[in-house]
């Protein structure tokens, strides 16, 4: 059966959908959706076809939008997206994780909420109260501008009760009992600042799992690229060969455990691609060596950045790659990153790109 490729693009002014056939050359752009609310993360559940978008309005608070019909209709819900009275304050929702019939979303202040009814209602799962670092990560002095709290939720193929989360500036935690208990997963990571507790205090930007080896993880950290071969229990840095150790994104190849992709950025406040020349970098040997992929990408005066949910890879035999920039361009490759096309040029600033392969 023919397939359709759908990109869900979260932007500062709503969600957009880009759609193509398996050729991935001609793209139709639809949107903006979600009433123009700033969308942090938009995902497509390949099982149900439902689109979810976490969003926060400057005026009307935070919620999760959902569309069961590929963007034709949308509903917003924040029912249950609250902390108990007098405790933490929920200012925004951030990373979404969908799988095993559950939808989960991270929040700022840091906590994980979940929905068992497709995003209609939500309940608080955990604020990781017994974890190292918990006493300080909601301290305003530890929250720089744009603080996201719990930035990401990574479902695990084993089942609904096992997943990982990232607390911004503190690191990765894993649960295997649905959020009842947690373990830090940061051993071997590097920090360029003093640590009060060696188990936490690491700035993990993006965490990805190899779809063909569930013990193989990669992460882009504020301080370097890292690989794990034991399900995140220990990490080895694999930065050598990249132009900088800083970036926000990572994507794991769907069929090859040794291959993954990153987009290094200048680590200063600009956080753009180095030398104004756009490139995606690929390793095919688990981080021992790196190749710069740039054919079709702008190589002059391209001071563009890509945020932590801004790179995606599809699951076709020859995987396609997609990234969205903080200045509103979407670039796509239908040949594993060898060549690139600009498929949208003037969207609002992009915070996330996710891809789904659906039956036509």
């Amino acid at each position: 059966m023919a397939k359709r490729i759908v990109l869900a693009v979260g932007t500062r002014k709503g969600c957009f959908l880009l759609e193509s056939d398996e050729g991935r050359r001609d793209w139709e752009v639809r949107g903006p959706f979600c009433d123009g609310w700033p969308v942090y993360h938009a995902v497509v559940d390949e099982g149900s076809g439902t689109i979810y978008a976490s969003a926060a309005s400057e005026w009307h608070g935070a919620g999760v939008w959902r569309s069961p019909d590929m963007g034709e209709t949308w509903e917003l819900s924040s029912e249950g997206l609250q902390y108990p009275e007098g405790e933490l304050k929920l200012s925004r929702v951030s990373g979404l994780g969908v799988g095993h019939g559950k939808v989960r979303v991270g929040a700022e202040a840091a906590g994980v909420f979940e929905s068992g009814d497709g995003g209609a209602t939500w309940s608080l799962v955990s604020t990781l109260d017994d974890q190292p670092g918990r006493g300080s990560w909601n301290d305003p002095s530890n929250q720089p501008p744009g603080h996201l709290g719990m930035t990401a939720i990574l479902p695990h193929p084993d089942g609904p009760d096992r997943y990982m989360i990232i607390v911004q500036g503190f690191g990765i935690f894993e649960t295997t009992d649905g959020g009842g208990s947690w373990e830090p997963r940061n051993s071997g990571l590097r920090a360029e600042w003093p640590l009060e507790d060696e188990r936490v205090g690491y700035c993990v930007h993006k965490l990805v799992m190899s779809p063909v080896d569930h013990d193989r993880f990669y992460q882009q950290n504020h301080c370097g690229m890292h690989r794990s071969d034991d399900g995140g229990r220990t990490w080895t840095e694999v930065t050598d060969g990249l132009p900088t150790d800083f970036g926000f994104v990572a994507a794991a190849h769907p069929h090859d455990r040794e291959s993954f992709y990153v987009i290094p950025l200048d680590p200063g406040h600009g956080r753009c691609m180095p030398d104004g020349a756009a490139a995606v970098w690929r390793t095919s040997d688990a981080g021992s060596t790196w190749q710069r992929l740039h054919r079709g990408l702008p190589q002059q005066n391209a001071y563009i950045g890509v945020l932590r949910e801004g790179l995606a890879i599809d699951s076709l035999d020859a995987p396609g790659l997609y990234f969205g920039t903080s200045t509103g361009q979407v670039f796509a490759s239908a040949d594993e990153g060898e060549t690139w096309d600009e498929i949208a040029s003037y969207l609002p600033g992009i915070s996330s790109v996710e891809v789904a392969v659906l039956e036509s």
């Binding site: 009433d35 309005s57 400057e58 005026w59 009307h60 919620g63 917003l76 902390y83």
Partner: protein, 87 residues
């Protein structure tokens, strides 16, 4: 009945919610309760837990800045304003 006016950012979030409607309530908070009964979730768009008005939502009763506890009289005009900001 209070004469309630809502900001343009709200009606698109709720089915058949008008910009202007009559509400039978004795305080601003009660007026928001009446709205939430008919359009579930609307309170959360205007108020934080506490409850308190969201930081960029302002309410005026008969042109005077109001709070949730502000009393409404028969025929009070209530304007809910989303602060002018953004770009």
């Amino acid at each position: 009945m209070a004469d309630l006016h809502l900001p343009p950012t709200l009606p698109s979030l709720f089915v058949d919610l008008p910009r202007r409607l009559d509400v039978d309530a004795t305080t601003v908070n009660e007026a928001i309760d009446r709205l939430d009964e008919r359009w579930p979730g609307l309170r959360d768009r205007l108020c934080e837990p506490g409850p308190a008005l969201r930081p960029h939502i302002n309410v005026y009763v008969d042109r005077e800045r109001a709070e949730l506890a502000t009393a409404l009289g028969p025929g009070s005009r209530v304007d809910v304003i989303a602060a002018i900001s953004g770009g």
